[in-house]
């Protein structure tokens, strides 16, 4: 059966595993080694000021601080659940910062780092996990869609939005986030079909954090994920997702290509979910502690910190100021979350439709009357 095998280009069946009989898989795109050393990638040059580097560090650190606080708040019963981004800060901040103002982003439920980069107030994210609403920010004003919990559904939204951009003759680009698990969903693959067919200005940004809850990547694909795109006829690239500079450069390049009419790109940001899937999850059931230890050596924040330090871009005072800012942020998030008012009961009827229907109006009126009947203390 070598004939069939040769008829197409099959590369590394298992990521990381060597496959000497097959062409070598390209390395991860990396601009910063795990030790914080800057390396050059002629294809993805990045001209970046010290100021910008420090500001990237600040984002990474503050987003992690937020995440830590949110996890604690969940433990204390102040949130129903929390989906931690621990370990994925660089992938998210790098991607988020690559966006131009007019670009639109479509997150999953874990993109707190992108939310931050888009200027979303963390409390507007907390409100979702507290059960107050489904996200408090304005997706139009922030150009950051509300979180989408049904796996993969947002990839089609992003593609359709990009088709709208084309019709507007605009130069906006669109960034769709998805996980490694999501790549198995039919809708995600349909999004790639549509994006390719219409050459839509959309970039699929897949954070391969190695797991879909407990299910390892190998169940979703036998080959590196970024190669999925080739089957749909557009480029795929794998970037070190723990290297904020590489993510920034690659995402910028892909968005620029989209803007220029070159159609979609698939980016696989190779990273690791250092925490549990959510606060309801118990990762000890399905992965070894040693794996986590290995990934800790590639910590995205430590890496940038090492770079800033070794190249003298930031000093101890800077790091201390960021830490202090983090503590302030955490305090604000804590207070804001704990004090967040519950929504008005009858609000659930209010935005079902842009034009409420008479039967629903009647239901709301009954509900309010029923409620009012308890207010005089006649509750059973």
């Amino acid at each position: 059966m070598t004939a069939l095998r040769q008829a197409t280009e099959v590369v590394d069946p298992v990521p990381g595993a060597s496959a000497p009989h097959l062409p070598q898989q390209p390395d991860l795109v990396q601009l910063l080694t795990p030790e914080g050393e800057r390396v050059e990638q002629p294809d993805y040059s990045l001209d970046i000021s010290d100021e910008e580097l420090r500001s990237l560090y600040r984002d990474l650190a503050l987003v992690r601080r937020w995440d830590v606080e949110a996890t604690a708040l969940q433990r204390q019963g102040e949130l129903g659940i929390w989906a931690s981004l621990l370990g994925q800060e660089a992938a998210q901040v790098g991607a988020g910062r690559a966006l131009a103002d007019g670009d639109m982003a479509f997150p999953t439920y874990r993109e707190h780092g992108v939310a931050w980069a888009r200027g979303v107030d963390p409390l507007d994210v907390m409100s979702l996990f507290r059960g107050v609403d489904n996200g408090g920010w304005d997706p139009v004003a922030r150009r950051f869609n509300l979180y989408t919990i049904v796996i993969g559904a947002q990839c089609l939204h992003a593609t359709g939005y990009a088709m709208g951009v084309q019709r507007d003759g605009s130069e906006d680009a669109v960034l769709a986030f998805l996980g490694d698990g999501a790549t198995s969903q039919g809708e995600v693959n349909e999004a790639m079909v549509f994006a390719a067919s219409f050459a839509a200005p959309v970039v699929f940004f897949c954070q391969n954090n190695q797991y879909a809850i407990s299910v390892p990547l190998e169940r979703q694909t036998r080959i590196p994920l970024y190669q999925r795109a080739a089957g749909f006829g557009f480029p795929g690239v794998r970037v070190d997702g723990n290297d904020v500079l590489a993510v920034l450069a690659v995402t910028r390049a892909a968005l620029q290509a989209a803007r220029e009419g070159q159609g979609p790109t698939f980016i696989e940001a190779f990273t690791y979910r250092m925490g549990a899937h959510t606060t309801s999850d118990d990762p000890t059931r399905y992965r070894l502690a040693s794996e986590l230890e290995e990934w800790k050596l590639r910590d995205p924040i430590a890496r940038l910190k090492a770079h800033l330090s070794r190249d003298g871009i930031a000093d101890a005072a800077f790091f201390e100021s960021v830490d202090a800012e983090g503590d302030e942020l955490a305090a604000r998030i804590r207070t804001g979350t704990v004090e967040m008012p519950d929504p008005a009961p009858s609000s659930m009827f209010e935005h079902v439709y842009a034009e409420q229907t008479p039967p629903l109006a009647a239901q709301q009126a009954e509900f309010e009357a029923y409620h009012a009947s308890f207010e005089g203390g006649v509750e059973r």
Binding site: A153, T159, Y161, E187, V352, E355
Partner: protein, 325 residues
């Protein structure tokens, strides 16, 4: 300006007018371009409005609805054609978890002015999946509205009203009636989209129908009249929201009510209507609300569809039973 139009042609003209009125209207679907759709409802529109506004999509219904959501977010008004009723299910996830919920999810910040056109129902001698009546699946889904037109006038105006409306609408077209004709006054002021309409007055029984069954109901009423029985026929026109006030008014007079639809009887629209009419008109009812629907089986091979579909006889049989209570 009065023209004699089939339902199909009325829809075609209505779509054309909606596209002229609003440059943000984009039609999407399988084979709607050069072919003009398998029922030719979009005939000539791609030629006149171009490929960016009349989009032949890849063959993927979730893709059609999912990209429509994105287009709506960008300010467009997508009108999606599902080729046949039985092929809407691949898009079901997008319709139920996204299209229906995004306005509520965003607390009203993001509107979903999407129209989902579906040729609905049986009676055309087709193979499996081409003759179904999925309206209850949508009417049970909060966040959607569901319209079922029965005639050229409502087709012409209804499609324009649906496109102009800010909420997502499943727009059901009575496929076996596409070729039925009527006079359409294209300069008239149309009736509101979401309202039922008494289409024939009567005193003995209130007969409710929508979409393709309205004609059957009217035929039954005529046959009953020949036997001296007076049936009031109401075209519901919209199945979500239901506009039941005219129904209540009628049932209070007649004391009897029969609902007819092609969809399987169990949990079809008849169930909801029976429950609501009984709640509201309990003391006026001389008989339980009776339902004439499809049987609780898959839509049968076409040689049996005449047996499956409610017809004049089955409607009259129910009327008899209602009168006999």
């Amino acid at each position: 300006m009065t023209e004699t139009l089939t339902i199909g042609k009325a829809l075609n003209l209505g779509l054309r007018r909606a596209m002229e009125d609003d440059a943000k209207v984009v039609l999407m679907g399988e084979d709607i371009g050069k072919l003009g759709g398998v029922f030719r409802i979009t005939d000539g529109l791609q030629k006149d409005f171009g490929e960016d506004r009349v989009v032949d999509t890849p063959l993927a219904e979730a893709g059609i609805l999912g990209t429509a959501v994105g287009l709506a977010m960008r300010g467009y008004r997508p009108v999606c054609e599902i080729q046949f009723d039985g092929f809407v299910f691949p898009a079901y996830n997008q319709i139920v978890t996204q299209v229906a919920k995004i306005h509520a999810r965003s607390k009203g910040r993001v509107a979903m002015p999407i129209v989902i056109r579906i040729p609905m129902g049986g009676g055309i001698g087709a193979v499996e999946h081409h003759s179904e009546s999925p309206e209850a699946y949508f009417a049970h889904t909060a966040g959607l509205k569901v319209v079922a037109v029965s005639n050229p006038v409502d087709a012409y105006w209804g499609i324009q009203q649906a496109i102009a409306h800010p909420d997502p609408i499943v727009f059901l077209e009575p496929k076996r009636r596409y070729w039925e004709k009527a006079e359409v006054d294209t300069s008239a002021t149309p009736d509101p989209l979401f309202g039922s309409r008494v289409v024939r007055g009567g005193d003995d029984v209130t007969l409710l129908a929508y979409g393709p069954m309205v004609k059957t109901a009217l035929q039954a009423a005529q046959a009953a009249a020949d036997e001296g029985r007076s049936i009031e026929v109401i075209d519901l026109r919209t199945v979500s929201p239901l506009d039941l006030d005219p129904v209540f008014e009628s049932v209070r007079r007649t004391g009897r009510c029969v609902v007819v639809h092609e969809a399987p009887t169990t949990l079809g629209l008849g169930a909801e209507i029976a429950a609501r009419v009984t709640e509201t008109c309990f003391h006026s009812l001389e008989a339980p609300v009776l339902r004439v629907g499809g049987y609780d089986t898959p839509y049968p091979p076409s040689k049996l569809e005449e047996e499956y579909l409610p017809d004049l006889d089955r409607v009259l049989d129910a009327v008899d039973r209602a009168m006999g209570f």
